[in-house]
Amino acid sequence: MSAAAGPAAPAVVADRLAKRFGAFTAVDDVSFAVAPREVFGFLGPNGAGKTTTIKMLAGLLLPSSGGGSVAGFDIATGTESIKRSIGYMSQLFSLYGDLTVEENLQFFSGLYGVPRARRAGRRDWVLEMAGLTEHRRRLTRDLPLGWKQRLALGSAVLHEPPILFLDEPTSGVDPISRRAFWELIHALAGQGTTVFVSTHYMEEAENCHRLALMNRGRLIALDAPAALRAGMREPILEVRAADSPRVAEALRDAPGVLEAGMFGRAVHVMVEDAAVARRAVLERLAARGLRVDGIAEVEPSLEDVFVAKVRAAGGAVAE
């Protein structure tokens, strides 16, 4: 660790960070600070600017304007020092498919300069952690995606970096593997690693200490998941019905309704006033001949918070 990154200094800082590709602004004036040992979540749809932000922080892209630091090193001038201090796992699987599990680990041990004496120990630790000890001699391309992702995480922590950047590490992975993956993330955080992780799965975001909500390149909210939910002023009505998609469609322009959308098999309706809207909702659905199995006010989910924040920021969700 560098001298600049003392115990109180933030592990990651973004200061008015921006990245433009021609006329397109991928990241727009984003600022935040991540404390050491924090599991910091980056939540937003595809195209929200999460990956671009992570690449700038990881020293893979230079910002168009603004700046930041990682482990005390400047992201514009200290990229090589940053690369030594972080582990990075990209969105797409990017280990060598034509190398075995063990050979991939050996290769990255060499690149990260893990001392020769420690290599075998680190390799065994990663194999154990990723549950790949029995499959160490298999070609990586033959592994299921969930295992590949665990191996990629293992390769990123071979050199015991104080900070870990994970860009949508669980996209495309089945729910059970996803849960196992998050257990690994928490284990690493428990050992003192700062984890910066992006996702577009709302339920995963609950695992983070703090969450940054991104939409169309802008940071639209930043807080702990519980605080984000508690801070939501608009009530949420959950409507259970047989034909949820048509119910959601019918409610979008109903009086007193701000937003309506699918939430699992039910419909979440964001309203101005719960009591008033409840009547309006039932009237609208009766008029359309849609049967309702139940309606109740519920605690907002993170998805509801996200929708509300996007609405407050005055922009539609990017696709």
Binding site: A58, L61, Y88, S94, L95, E103, F107, Y112
Partner: protein
């Protein structure tokens, strides 16, 4: 901050070897293709012309004209299997490429010979392949001249339609093979070396592994040199194998110092491998890199290195271009060491130029190769 770490360099080199061992296509390219190319081209490329398809229009039909045709047959270079009545009949045959030479013996051939006047024989040569045409004309002249000399001895004279030429096209086979095999060492290694490395960086971009590589502390120089090392080893093995095969299979002499040959081969290979890496780093696509690799190695090494055509006979602008073809320098080295047995006192200029080319190739590859993602 170390910008060239032995650990990281060896990690990259070791990874390349592991990948290469599992890549059948590259293995074939590395270890089978050089020998195949050597054998193929040693047999295919020859400046000797045989079995010249010849059509005869014998309007004289005399003992003398048959004697002349026998002289052509007897030379062993002509196939006189078509006899035509009119010259016009020959045209479609020449057009279709079935006939390379048309011999026209005029009606008064034997009469003129008998009366001591000069007789003329017309030779129509398909000039679409200028090299072959030149050789065919040379052979024809030689046969006619020989025939003419015999007629003269018998007291008659025949003024020949073509000037006499004493060029030694005959029995040249041995010489042309000796020129070709050492040249092929330079040509083949340029093609193989550039093809092998042109894939390596592009593959990392296509498979997405470049992103992970970029996120590590590995430097550009370490990646380029680490990728180069294994292929340099393969290239040197190839050079030795081709050279030994040339000596054993084609009985080409090797008169110079093997040690000097290996040192200069190393300089040559580093340059050509660097060129391949440069192409790979620029294109970021395996397909494009392979095609560009072929364009930048195959044709120049064949045509502009002095292998096929003498550089001194090229127009000045083209001659300038040849200085950019490293095979040009290595060709002087291989022919010099194989055939003449010359040493460093003659070849140091070529050696220095190849080292300069190697430095340039590597510098360009490192410079163009961006670890940053766009």
């Amino acid at each position: 901050m170390a910008w060239l770490s032995r650990t990281r360099l060896l990690a990259v080199a070791r990874k390349e070897v592991l990948q290469l061992r599992r890549d059948r296509r590259s293995l074939i390219l590395a270890f089978v293709m050089p020998l195949v190319l050597l054998v193929l081209y040693s047999y295919a490329i020859s400046w000797d012309v045989r079995h010249i398809a010849t059509a005869v229009v014998d309007q004289d039909r005399s003992a003398k004209s048959r004697e002349l045709l026998d002289a052509f047959r007897g030379s062993g270079y002509f196939l006189l299997d078509r006899h035509l009545d009119r010259v016009a009949d020959a045209e479609p045959l020449v057009d279709a490429g079935r006939v390379q030479l048309v011999l026209v013996i005029p009606p008064d051939f034997s009469r003129r010979l008998g009366s001591g006047r000069p007789a003329e024989v017309q030779a129509l040569v398909d000039g679409s392949d200028a090299n072959t045409a030149t050789i065919v004309v040379g052979y024809t002249q030689a046969v006619v001249q020989d025939f003419s000399a015999r007629v003269l001895l018998r007291g008659a004279t025949a003024r020949l339609p073509l000037a006499a030429d004493t060029r030694v096209w005959f029995n040249e086979e041995l010489v042309s093979r000796n020129m070709i095999v050492p040249g092929l060492v330079a040509v083949i290694m340029m093609i193989i070396a550039a093809m092998l490395t042109s894939l390596t960086i592009a593959r990392e971009w296509e498979r997405g592994t470049m992103e992970q590589l970029a996120a590590t502390p590995v430097s550009r120089l370490e990646v380029v040199l680490g990728k180069l090392l294994p292929y340099l080893g393969i290239g040197l093995v190839d050079v030795v194998v081709i050279s030994v095969a040339g000596v054993l299979l084609f009985h080409v002499p090797f008169r110079g110092s093997p040690a000097l040959f290996l040192v200069l081969s190393t300089a040559y290979l580093v340059g050509v491998l660097g060129l391949g890496l440069f192409i790979s780093a620029v294109t970021r696509s395996q397909l494009l890199a392979t095609q560009l690799g072929m364009i930048f190695t195959f044709l120049p090494s064949f045509l502009l290195s002095g292998f096929m055509f003498a550089i001194s006979a090229m127009p000045p602008p083209l001659r300038l271009v040849t200085y950019l073809v490293p095979a040009r320098y290595f060709l002087v080295v291989t022919r010099g060491i194989f055939l003449k047995g010359v040493g460093v006192e003659v070849l140091f200029v070529q050696g220095l130029l190849m080292i300069a080319f190697a430095a340039l190739g590597l510098a360009l590859a490192v410079r163009v190769f961006r670890k940053e993602l766009a």
